[in-house]
Amino acid sequence: MTRMTDLRAAGLGLGYEGRTVVTGLDLAVAPGRITAIVGPNACGKSTLLRGLARLLRPAAGTVLLDGADIHRLSTREVAARIGVLPQQPIAPDGISVGDLVARGRHPHQRWLRQWSADDEKAVAAALAATGVADLEHRPVDELSGGQRQRVWIALVLAQETGLLLLDEPTTFLDLAHQLEVLDLLADLNTAGRTVVAVLHDLNMACRYAHEIVAMRDGALLAQGPPAEIVDAALVDKVFGVRARVITDPTTGTPLVLPEPRSRRRS
């Protein structure tokens, strides 16, 4: 695996066409760990991820990749170090799993050196790591949601970067498929990759992530290991929800039990 990639933001401000979404955010991605970005809808989680991935130019502050301003690096240099899975990538009509994953090799290809043994090896490894090797010749449109998400992750793996940024990789998936994807992320992390994912489900984030980044209204409210930072006060501050936080009997991580309105009234 490649050396650990260092990614951090300093005084980061992000927005779209004058509309500010993220302001004054400082963050250092923990190398070799899984970081989950959590927060309510429209709090700027995905925007932050896009900013970190160089998909969005900062309105203020900088993103530093291995110490260098990420916007001074070439698109290709960034692509060699950071793999990104956006929220809704497009699968071309009728494309097969193998062909789709092979497109992750784009940053490694040059005009004269099109497809090499290295590419072949990287694609095979990515298919194997995500458990979709036996689907290689199937059309992507025929797969289940969980399988399809694993295929997209395989594409990003084929890119062979030490750092993966994933925007809501479990959204729209049922419970079994969510676990399938999160277990895969844990395996990839064990194999040496740094993972940053925007996650919807706070309990899943607490179970799988080493670091939680909690956001609200475009600002970072807390960052740290789930056991240290996730408590009733934080859940209230981030989501505006009253909840009990107990220790998960299986994993020892915090388990958030939101209180239904009927109980809150009594």
Binding site: A53, A80, I82, Q88, G94, R103
Partner: protein, 332 residues
């Protein structure tokens, strides 16, 4: 290119070549193939008359059909891939309408000759393409917006063309409407050579620029994350596609449906592996050479403009494509 794409390309080129050879033998002055081949080989056995008929009358037209078909096929394939919409093609997103408006203006108002009309059409196509690109540019160009703006611009330009035709006298109006249908009849080397040169130059350029297409198709964010400079790559590809369509339209008029149908046919034959750019170009060449041969010979000695034939065949194909897209629940 995988084996299937090579097979489709070779087959399409053979069809185009066959149509070319048949086209060289048929006409008011029929000739056996052996005579035609003698002329082409530059042998002494050929009479001056048959050399004139083959080299100066029939060859520019037949070769023009291949070059124009190649240009439309390749241009359509690029536009459809960049815009991620199988219904997009240079004729639908407004490039042809721009060429047509200027050409009709030149024919009707200024009574210009064919060379001026061709040049004007080229300028009209380029100006329209630039206008559409700039109008649909907001934080980068998305395919959807490009198609919608193109449809709007086409509607405006079509009304200009219709107005010009209404004000014209019968003779120039007929001349203009023949141009509007698209025809290769009576094309000489001076009209055909620019298309041949454009295809020879732009085909390798397009292939060189096409590498990022595989990433671009996955959406802008993923393409950028895979190291593609999205805006630049897309602008360069669209520019190439516009240049091809504009040169072809200038030479032959806005022949309908070839740019739309050729990539679709090629993709179905190749079964969706790879980009099918070269196969689309070859299928375009085959389609237009067959259509032009039919346009010349079906009602011989009378002749149809080739655009009538491509429309008669292409329109049902478009309807089929739309019906199918609706059933699947998406258009791109």
């Amino acid at each position: 290119m995988d084996r299937r794409a090579v097979a489709v390309t070779v087959a399409a080129l053979l069809v185009a070549l066959t149509a070319l050879l048949v086209s060289l033998t048929r006409g008011d002055y029929p000739m056996p193939l052996s005579d035609v081949l003698t002329v082409l080989a530059g042998g002494d056995g050929a009479t001056r008359r048959s050399a004139y008929v083959v080299l100066d009358l029939r060859l520019p037209r037949a070769l023009g059909a291949i070059a124009v078909g190649t240009a439309f096929g390749l241009s359509g394939a690029i536009v459809q891939r960049v815009v991620r919409n199988p219904l997009a093609s240079p004729d639908i997103i407004g490039i042809n309408a721009g060429a047509a408006a200027v050409a009709v203006f030149l024919i009707v108002v200024l009574a210009a000759g064919p060379q001026t009309v061709a040049f004007g059409a080229l300028a009209g196509a380029a100006a329209t393409a630039a206008a559409i690109y700039l109008l649909s540019r907001r934080r980068g160009v998305t395919g959807y917006r490009l198609v919608l703006v193109g449809i709007g611009v086409t509607a405006m330009l079509t009304s200009v063309t219709a107005y010009l035709l209404n004000t014209a006298n019968i003779y120039t109006a007929e001349q203009a409407s023949i141009w509007l249908t698209g025809s290769l009849a009576g094309r000489s080397w001076s009209q055909v050579l620019p298309v041949v040169i454009a295809v020879v130059v732009l085909l390798p350029v397009a292939l060189r620029l096409a590498a990022p297409l595989r990433a671009l198709e996955l959406g802008d964010d993923l393409a950028l994350a895979l190291g593609v400079r999205v805006e630049r790559a897309r602008a360069a590809l669209l520019l190439t596609a516009v240049a091809l369509a504009a040169v072809a339209t200038a030479a032959a008029g806005p022949i309908a449906f070839v740019a739309l149908a050729a990539p679709q046919i090629a993709r179905r034959l190749v079964r969706e592996r790879g980009l099918a750019l070269v196969s689309s170009a070859a299928v375009g060449a085959a389609l237009l050479s067959l259509a032009d041969l039919a346009a010349r010979r079906v009602l011989a000695p009378a002749e149809l403009p080739v655009g009538v034939l491509t429309t008669v065949l292409g329109a049902p194909f478009l309807v089929w494509l739309l019906a199918r897209a609706n059933r699947i629940g998406r258009t791109g």
